[in-house]
């Protein structure tokens, strides 16, 4: 089996160089909150956007808040009237499913707090250049300024979050090589165990 094995190795190497991108093994969801709006998109890492997929939105207590669908570009956007973590569940219908949680911190402070037992936590912004009273929560800036800061920060941070998200699920080649190593190792271990079991009988 020398020649076919060499051929297979060739195929493997070809696949390694060719397969620069990962395909639709799974679907990913990215979302961010801004004010009372949650928007984002769904995509297959390294591949196409996930079009016309159902996204169901849940509150932390499991209550269903609503549904939305991704458009032809895989994007979605909806307004929320609750200030709580939003768990977004996407089902692509072909066995791919994923979740993404938009934390309550990302949403505007003006929203009513979701869930009856959740404590009201107004966002606290520490004033700059003051070292005293670090432990005491400083009063929130006037509502308008707070909202403005939130909006600006959300807009500035979003590209970074998107990049981080994409970076996270890049298929890394050392993982691929590692995987092949594991397979060869498992095969070796199997042979070792089998031969070990056989030798006392001999």
């Amino acid at each position: 089996m020398r020649k076919p094995a060499t051929f297979m190795k060739g195929c493997l190497l070809l696949a390694l160089f060719w397969g620069g991108a990962a395909g639709a093994h799974r679907v990913k969801l990215f979302a961010a909150g801004e004010g009372d709006r949650i928007s984002g998109y769904a995509y297959f890492p390294g591949g196409a956007r996930a079009k016309d997929c159902l996204i169901t939105v849940y509150a932390p207590d499991g209550a269903k808040l609503g549904e939305t669908r991704t458009d032809s570009k895989g994007e979605f956007s909806f307004r929320t009237d609750r200030h709580c973590d939003h768990r977004l569940v996407l089902d692509a219908g072909d066995g791919h499913r994923t979740e993404f949680t938009v934390s309550a911190d990302e949403l505007g402070p003006g929203l009513p707090v979701g869930g009856t037992d959740a404590p009201v936590t107004p966002p606290t912004i520490r004033p700059l250049g003051r070292r005293s009273a670090a432990a005491a929560p400083s009063p929130a800036p006037p509502g308008d300024l707070g909202k403005l800061l939130d909006r600006i920060l959300a807009r500035r941070l979003r590209p970074l979050e998107e990049r981080l998200d994409r970076y996270e699920d890049r298929v890394r080649w050392h993982d691929v090589i590692g995987g092949i190593g594991y397979i060869l190792g498992i095969a070796g271990l199997y042979v070792l165990l089998k031969s070990g079991r056989r030798s006392p009988a001999n």
Binding site: A15, V27, R97
Partner: protein, 206 residues
């Protein structure tokens, strides 16, 4: 084709696990020492093939090479595909650990069926038919795997037509590419090492 965590219902997960355990038992029994390197090479090929992504316009899918795996390994395709899927789930988050049984069965059953049928056919048919038989083996294994995946989703309460349409539409280019790859490899092996092909159990040598 890698069904994610949380999509399937409990009974389907259980049935998939049971099928995979049975298939693994059959595969391991056939896997004598001489076959282990072969199984490892094809498990690696299967493991890497899933990273080759083929854009299909409306969706994107990846190679599987389950037909080729079955053609050369027969029942031993079960352990090979199981190990490859386990590592894909652990390293890349493809599929999930709870759905490992269903995913293995979905891809390995077509591999074994096509491998035994077409391995036998390639042995008995004239050599000029080898490419065509290999092509059909590779393509059919993909289509059957898609149908099994759609069935698993249907049994978990999804619409079969939607699932089947989504999966099969995305896998048309894959089926063609895998047909070509399997056909080419089959032609090559038939010429240099014809005994590598899986033979039906009633035609095993030794």
């Amino acid at each position: 084709m890698h069904i994610a965590e949380g999509v399937l219902s409990g009974p389907v997960v259980g049935a998939g696990a049971a099928l995979t355990v049975a298939g693994m038992a059959a595969g391991l029994r056939q896997m004598d020492m001489d076959r282990v390197p072969r199984v490892a090479v094809l498990a690696s090929t299967f493991f890497v093939a899933s990273l080759v992504h083929v854009p299909a316009g409306w969706s994107s899918a990846h190679l599987l090479l389950n037909g080729l795996t079955g053609l050369i390994l027969g029942w031993a395709a079960f352990p090979a595909i199981f190990v490859a899927l386990l590592l894909q789930a652990l390293l890349f988050n493809f599929g999930g650990l709870s759905t490992l049984g269903v995913n293995t069965a979905d891809m390995a059953i077509p591999a074994v069926v096509c491998g035994i049928v077409f391995g036998h056919a390639i042995h008995t048919a004239p050599i000029r038919w080898t490419f065509l038989l290999g092509f059909v083996c590779g393509s059919l294994a993909i289509v059957l795997a898609g149908l099994l995946t759609a069935t698993a989703l249907t049994l978990s309460g999804k619409g079969f037509r939607t699932a089947a349409e989504l999966i099969l539409a995305a896998h048309v280019p894959i089926a063609i590419i895998e047909g070509l790859v399997t056909g080419a490899v089959a032609t090559f092996i038939r010429r240099v090492r014809p005994e590598l092909f899986e033979r039906p159990p009633w035609r095993q040598e030794s």
